[in-house]
C-alpha cells in the first residue's frame, strides 16, 4: 500500500482532511452523553454540580470520592490482610457489622436496618471507642469524621439517642446505615429487609480480598466493586418493592459462585 500518484481528479471523499474529520466523528458521542446528563465535563446536566463534583447522578462513581473516608490510595494498600494504614480497618468494620446484625436481626433471620437500630449501633460503637480511649488502646481511626458529621455540633459520637428534639429531627433526615461485610465466600448479613423510598447508606467492605456486591433488578444490574479492606459507601434508594439478588462480581477464589445474598424491599 505505497503511494500512487497517477490521479486526475479528486472528490472531497478522498481529501485527507475529510478523512481525518470523519475519523474523529466518534467524538460526537459526547453529545449523546450530554443529552443523558452524563457528559464528563458536566454539559447537559440540569443540576448545579457541587464543588469538586461533575453533577452526575445515578452513579455510585459520584459517591466514590466521598466513600474513601480517608482511605489511602490503592498504592498505599497492602495485601494479605494487613492493615490499611488509615480509615476503618477490616477488624473494626467486622465488629460494626456484628453489632449491626445483632441489633437489627428479625426472628426470621433477615436484617432490617432502622434509624433506632442505627442510633443504638452508634451508641454501642461510641461506648466501645470510649472504652478503648480509657484503656489507652490504639487511637481509633474509623468512621469518626463521618459520625461527627452526622451528629449535631458539640455532640459526641454515640450520644445521638440522648439528644432532644432538633437532633432527632436531624437524625430522621439521615440515610439509614446498612453494613455489609464481604468475605470468602459469603456476605454478612446475607438477607436484608428494606423499604422503598427510604435512602440507605450502604457501608461495605471486602474484609479479606476484593469482592463485588452487585445488585440485580432482573432487567439489569448495578455493579459494585469492593476492594480489599477499603470501605465503600453507596447512598441507595430503592424505588420499587421486590426481592433483589446481590452477588459477587469480582473473582475471589473457587467459592466465588456461592457468594450471594438477598435484599427484600417492601
Amino acid at each position: 500500500m505505497e503511494t500512487e500518484s497517477n490521479m486526475n481528479g479528486q472528490s472531497i471523499s478522498t481529501h485527507k482532511g475529510f478523512v481525518f474529520v470523519v475519523g474523529l466523528s466518534v467524538l460526537s458521542l459526547y453529545l449523546l452523553w450530554a443529552a443523558y446528563g452524563h457528559a464528563p465535563l458536566g454539559f447537559g446536566s440540569d443540576e448545579e454540580p457541587p464543588a469538586g463534583d461533575t453533577g452526575r447522578e445515578h452513579s455510585e462513581e459520584d459517591a466514590m470520592p466521598a466513600m474513601k473516608m480517608d482511605m489511602p490510595a490503592m498504592g498505599g494498600m497492602e495485601m494479605g490482610g494487613h492493615g490499611m494504614g488509615g480509615g476503618m480497618s477490616a477488624a473494626e468494620f467486622r465488629r460494626r457489622v456484628e453489632a449491626f446484625v445483632k441489633i437489627n436481626t428479625l426472628p426470621d433471620g433477615s436484617v432490617r436496618p432502622t434509624r433506632q437500630g442505627m442510633a443504638k449501633l452508634k451508641a454501642m460503637m461510641g461506648e466501645a471507642e470510649e472504652a478503648e480511649h480509657e484503656g489507652g488502646g490504639e487511637e481509633p481511626h474509623d468512621a469518626k469524621p463521618e459520625e461527627a458529621e452526622h451528629a449535631p455540633p458539640g455532640d459526641m459520637p454515640g450520644m445521638v439517642m440522648e439528644k432532644p428534639g432538633g437532633a432527632e429531627e436531624a437524625l430522621d433526615e439521615e440515610p439509614i446505615e446498612v453494613y455489609i461485610a464481604a468475605s470468602r465466600w459469603s456476605y454478612e448479613p446475607a438477607e436484608l429487609r428494606l423499604e422503598t423510598g427510604v435512602q440507605y447508606k450502604f457501608l461495605m467492605m471486602g474484609t479479606d480480598t476484593s469482592h463485588g456486591a452487585s445488585i440485580n433488578f432482573v432487567r439489569a444490574s448495578h455493579m459494585i466493586r469492593l476492594r480489599a479492606n477499603a470501605l465503600s459507601q453507596n447512598a441507595i434508594t430503592f424505588t420499587q418493592p421486590g426481592e433483589y439478588l446481590f452477588y459477587c462480581t469480582v473473582y475471589c477464589g473457587v467459592g466465588h459462585d456461592k457468594m450471594f445474598g438477598k435484599i427484600i424491599v417492601e
Binding site: 466518534v26 458521542l29 494498600m77 452477588y247 459462585d257
Partner: protein
Amino acid sequence: MTQNVLVDGLKKLPNADKNLLKAFIAMAVLTLALGVLYGVTNAFTRAGFIELEAEMAYQMLTLHGVTIFFYWLYFVQAALVLILAVVYTESADAIAWRPLARFGFIAMTIGFILNEFCILNGASILYNAPPEVVTEDNRAQCAYFYVGYLLLGVGQFLVAVPAIYTALKPKLEGKIETWSAVSFAAVAWAGLLIVSAMAAINIFLPAASWAFGTSQTVSMGYVMGWNLLFHNVHYLPLMATALVWYVLVEVMAGVKSIFGRRFSKIIFASYLVFVPPTSLYHMFLEPDLSEVVRVLGSLLSLFISVPTLLLFMVIVASLEVHGRAHGGKGIFGWIRMLPWGNPVMNAVGMAVVNLAIGGALSFVLIMEGLAPLLSDTFFVPGYFHFLTVGTVTLTFIAALLYIIPALSGRDLWNPSLLNKIPYLLTFGLLIFGTAGVTAGYMGVPRRVFDISYGGDAPAAWSTIMTCIGIGAIFMTAALAVYVYALTATFFGPRRSPGEELPGLPAVSWGGVALGRRTAWFGPLSVMVLVAGMYAFTVLGFNLMDGLAINVIAGGH
C-alpha cells in the same frame, strides 16, 4: 499474484530465518488449538452442557485466557512483526540479531509451559492473576506462574529488538533513506511491544517476589499496573490487525494507498499517541479512582478508535478508487470485484464486519456513567470476542494462509472450504456475542460458572447462557478447521523443487489511471458504526435509568 511482495519476500529469506519463523508459527497454532479447546469447555460449562467442579472450571477459564490471549496472540505477533520488518524493509535480506529473537522464542516457550503447568497444578487465578486471590495453598504455583509471565515479557522484548534493528540496519548502513509505511508501522508496533514488556515486568516481578516470599507485601498498585498493561496488550493486536489488512490488501489487489506513505505513517504513529493514555476506562468501577481521572478517562477514551478508523478509511478508499477505475459502479460495485475466491479476502472481509460490531459495542464501556451497568458482566466477553476472535484472530489466520505456504513450500489446504469458514465463524460469533451482550445488559456476571444463586437468579439467565454454548459450537468448528488447515499446510506434501505454488486468487488493480477519485464507502461505514455506538449507548442509558434504584452521591 504478480505483486505478492509478502510471499516473494518470505521465499527469499535464509533458511535460518524461515526456521525461526516456522517455530513461532508452530507455537502460535498450538496455543490457538489449546486456547480454543479450553474456551469451548468454558462456554459449555457456562451453558450447562457439561458440569465441572468449580476448581476445574476456574482452571479452564485461566487456561483459556492465558493461552489464547497471551500466547496465541503474542507468538503470532512475534512472527508477524519479524516478517513485516524483514520483508518490507528494502535491502533487509535477513532478520538482524537473529540469536536474540531465538532467545525470545525460547523464553516465550518456557513461559508458556510454566504457565500451563502452574495452572494445571492449582494456580487458577485467572489471566489477570491478582495476588490477592493467591492462597497459601497455591502460592508456590502462583510464584512460578508469575515467572511464566515474566518470561513472556522478556521474550517479547527479545523479539521486538531484532525486529526494530532489522528495519533500522539498512538505514544505518546508508542503503535506504526512508522506510516503507509497513516498515515504519512494524517498528512502531515493536516499540509498543517493548513498552508492554516493560509494563509486564514492572507488575509481575514484584508479584513473583511476593509469591516467593522474598518480599512481605505486594502493592495494590498491581490493579492499576495490570490495567495499564492489559490496555496495551489488547490494543497491540488491534494495531497489528490494521497493519496486516494494509499489507494483505496490497497482496490481494495490488492497490497502493492513494493518500501516500507519509499519511499512513502518521496514522500508524498515532497509535503510540492514542493507545497508552486511554487505558483509564478499565478502572471506572474502582472505588477509589478520583473524579478527575474518571472525567479524563471518559474524554480520552473517545479517541481510542481514531487511528483504526483512519486506517480503515485509507485502505477502503484506496480500494474503492481503484475498483471504480476498473469498472466498479457506485458505492458498492467495487466490492463485488474483489477476489472473493481467495480465503484470505473472505477472512479480511468478515474481520472488518466483526470489528464494526465489536467496536460499536465497546464504546458503551468507555462511558464511566455506564460502567456500573456493564463492567464485570458477560457483556465484556460478549463484545470482545467479536474483536479478539472475529477481528484479530481471523486477520492473523488470514495472514498465515499466505505465510505458511510461502515458508513451507506446500499448498494451502483446501482453499475452497476455507472460503466459507469466516462466515461460519461470524455466524457463531453473532449467536455468542448477541447472547453475551444481552446477558450483560441483564446483569449476568462474567467469571461465574453457577449463576443459579440458589434459585434467586432470574430464570432468563440460564436460558440466555444456553445460546452462549450454541454460538461456541459454531465458533469452535470454524477455528478447528483453521487449525487443521494451518497444520495440514505445514506438514502436507511438498512441491518438487522449482515447481511454483499455484497461489491464491488476486486482482491487479494497481498502476492504472484512476480518474476522478471518489470513495464514499469508508465514510458511510464509519457513520453506520457511529450510529451503532449511539444505539448501544442509548440502550445502556435507558436500562440504567429504568433500574428500581437511585444511587446518588451520598453518605454525607
